[in-house]
């Protein structure tokens, strides 16, 4: 396929430019999402193909189509009377002016002039735009049909909350794992991962193939696996670093607000929780459950102005929580402190939920732990600012099924809503993973810095992901045409322009070597050394 595609024939800054394809370039070789450069008179533009059209020069051709079975006629008409056009969205200007050379790619502020030539972007153009793999940049994948590496600036990425979206089975988990590895290596941030499906700690599942290695296997020295369900972890052969237990006294009324829907609590019941907390103090949960159906109870409820049915509703809800096996009257070790200790040492923490994949457990635990960690970070950050000491290590909290925490009803109450909105200042950001982005509060969505999205085919989901992105309608075409596996659209803060990426391979021995260079040999060497020492 030739590098030269055609010339610009019309266009606008808001809608992008139309490019007439040369007869040498076939429409069938084009692909939405591919990169092109446009050689303007003064500037070079970098853009993306967002649409491909078929055109005829004379409408009569469509009414009485010529005999295309005749190769001669077909050859003559191809590219002259019938031709293809590309719709290209110029995104950046590269090179050209002095500022462009000094400051790198700049957002476009104009369109190339008439008949500027359009070429396929070369590897070096793409490198110029997305940067080379280096200390802060992580190779996430390749552009479509090209071998160049597209790199994400992870240092920039972790400064904001980010989102990974996509239908079930489109590779969100693989993508997340790759991204986590990247962050682990290059971002200087630590990760706390609420791993609902046990995918990130030791091993991850793969459709129709043996499991793949996850973080702990690749980076044993910098990942700690915390387990909520020790038995399950043991059965899966995972060596856990810590078993999380939660005491009754650690549950706060705010945690109940979030569980209102899943526990089927009424509004007054949630209100009653606060009253109980005021009345009974820290041990409110135990005390509330202990209240028996007796005369004094009725008096007590009357005092607190709680209706009896409300109270029963609340008790039922709390009983559900008590039945959760990891909830104990008194937790032996405070999980929050342990997590923070690990994080402070630069260890990344994966919290595996084991069998407790139900929403109640996940929402309760994630919210509870995150809230306390938030409080700690806020305190330390404020202290650091006040005393001019070292700030806490940036923390990225990964949550799955994010719409459970961030839907419009609860987003204002959960800690994750707060983190998404303002925790950036306190060095804590979120990595939100979800398959129904439309379920997430618009306010939270708008705060996500970089959005990474695999295939979505629900209109509302697409709209919510692309809300506010420039060139939304064009991106929509690209997004809906993504392949269902290994392809993803990245746009936002960490990339200079929206980019469609074929995610890099994960799961083969070679890919592990790429991801964790030296790790395996390190282990090997260490083992050898240990053996030698043993014999000495």
């Amino acid at each position: 396929m030739s590098e030269h595609l055609g010339i610009v024939v019309s266009g606008s800054l808001s809608k992008g430019v139309e490019v007439r394809l040369d007869s040498s370039a076939s429409v069938e070789d084009m692909a939405g999402g591919r990169y092109v450069t446009i050689e303007g008179k003064k500037q070079r533009f970098f853009g993306m193909i967002t649409d491909v059209n078929l055109e005829v020069i004379d409408p009569k051709l469509t009414l009485t189509p010529p005999d295309m079975a005749d190769p001669f006629i077909a050859e003559v008409l191809d590219g002259t009377s019938t031709y293809g056009t590309l719709h290209i969205l110029p995104m950046l200007t590269i090179g050209g002016e002095a500022t462009g050379l000094i400051e790198g790619p700049q957002p476009v502020k104009t369109v190339p002039s008439h008949f500027s030539t359009v070429n396929l972007a070369s590897d070096s153009d793409i490198e110029l735009v997305f940067g080379k793999e280096d200390k802060g940049r992580f190779w996430i994948g390749n552009p479509l049909d090209m071998e160049t590496k597209i790199c994400l600036n992870l240092t920039e990425l972790v400064k904001r909350s980010n989102g990974i979206f996509g239908k079930s089975g489109t590779g969100k988990t693989f993508l997340t794992r790759i991204l986590l590895i990247g962050m682990l290596q290059k971002s200087q941030a630590v990760n706390l991962i609420f791993d609902m499906h046990n995918e990130y700690g030791w091993a991850g599942t793969r459709e129709g193939a043996p499991p793949v290695k996850a973080l702990k296997q690749l980076f044993p020295s910098s990942v700690a696996v915390f387990a909520l369900d020790e038995e399950n972890s043991r059965r899966r052969g995972v060596s856990t670093d810590f078993v999380v237990r939660i005491g009754y006294d650690e549950i706060e009324p705010e945690d109940m607000v979030l569980l209102r829907q899943t526990l089927n609590l009424t509004e007054p019941a949630v209100e009653a929780v606060y009253q109980m907390r005021r009345k009974f103090g820290k041990n409110w949960l135990q005390r509330t459950l202990d209240i028996k159906d007796a005369e004094e109870t009725r008096d007590l409820l009357k005092d607190m102005n709680i209706h009896e049915s409300t109270f029963q509703n609340l008790q039922r809800g709390l009983a559900t929580i008590r039945r959760l096996p990891f909830i104990e009257p008194h937790a032996p070790v405070n999980a929050v402190i342990s997590i923070l200790e690990h994080l402070d040492r630069g260890m990344n923490v994966v919290l595996e939920f084991g069998r407790y994949r139900d929403v109640t457990s996940y929402v309760l635990v994630a919210n509870m732990l995150a809230r306390r960690i938030y409080a700690q970070y806020q305190e330390r950050m404020e202290k650091a600012m006040g005393e001019d000491t070292a700030k806490p290590t940036p923390l990225v909290i990964t949550i799955e099924e994010a719409h459970k925490f961030l839907n419009p009803e609860v987003a204002s109450n959960t800690i994750f809503g707060t983190i998404a909105r303002e925790m950036r200042k306190y060095n804590v950001t979120l990595l939100v993973i979800d398959q129904r982005p439309s379920g997430i509060d618009g306010e939270v969505m708008s705060q996500l810095g970089t959005k990474i999205t695999c295939l979505l085919d629900n209109e509302r989901d697409i709209d919510s992901v692309l809300a506010g992105a420039s060139g939304k309608s064009e991106l929509k075409t690209v997004l809906s045409k993504l392949e269902s596996k290994q392809q993803t659209l990245i746009f936002g803060h960490a990339v200079p322009m929206p980019v469609v990426v074929r995610t890099r391979e994960y799961g083969s021995a070679e890919s592990y070597r790429d991801f964790a260079p030296g790790q395996e040999t390190d282990i090997g060497k260490r083992a050898e050394k240990d053996i030698e020492e043993l014999w000495e």
């Binding site: 007869s23 020069i57 004379d58 001669f72 006629i73 003559v76």
Partner: protein, 197 residues
């Protein structure tokens, strides 16, 4: 260079075309072929668009003579004067000129000279001239007794013969025509039907 083949002499000339009489009866160059005549220092190129054979005197038509002859050839043998009483002429549309070393695919400043010799262009020259197909535009935009489609297709068929890769030449010419005739698809189709091999 091969020897130039002289085919006639200009007997009528205008800015856009010239008419030449053949030296031999019936020996006019084929329809669509490239011919040239000189008017030093300019060399004019024309495309043969029309040829006719008729009696010398206008208004006096030949009469049928073959009733008692066995073959057509015998008619001419028994009446040798016929060869002198009839004449063949052809018209050529001026499509370009050469001045010095340069070829121009548009009309020359002056028409051809009467009695200028007319030569049939040799393959090398045809190849050189047809490097640019801009002259097709002249053919498309002229009103002639013969239909434009017929003339253009005849011309392209003639020219393609000097190329080793006839197909490539015809496709290139076809594409050029598709641009000139962008709004007249039916005309384009008619020409393409006539030049496909």
């Amino acid at each position: 260079m091969t020897e130039e083949q002289r085919v006639g002499e200009v007997i009528e000339a205008s800015t856009t075309d010239f008419v030449a009489q053949c030296y031999e009866l019936y020996q006019s160059p084929p329809l669509g072929s490239l011919v040239k005549t000189r008017d030093e220092p300019v060399e004019l190129y024309g495309i043969v668009y029309h040829a006719a054979t008729a009696g010398f005197e206008t208004g006096r038509r030949p009469i049928a003579r073959g009733k008692d002859e066995a073959t057509e050839e015998a008619i001419y043998q028994s009446s040798p004067q016929l060869l002198k009483l009839l004449r063949s002429e052809f018209g050529a549309l001026v499509v370009g000129h050469r001045q010095g070393d340069k070829l121009y695919h548009y009309l020359p400043p002056k028409p051809a000279r009467i009695h200028g010799f007319v030569y049939l262009c040799q393959p090398d020259e045809v190849k050189e001239f047809s490097q640019s197909l801009a002259f097709l535009n002249i053919l498309i935009n002229t009103h002639l007794p013969v239909s434009t489609e017929e003339l253009i297709s005849a011309c392209l068929r003639q020219m393609s013969q000097v190329y080793e890769d006839r197909h490539a030449f015809l496709v290139a010419a076809g594409k050029e025509l598709a641009i000139f005739l962008s709004g007249q698809f039916n005309q384009l189709k008619a020409i393409l039907e006539r030049i496909k091999q």
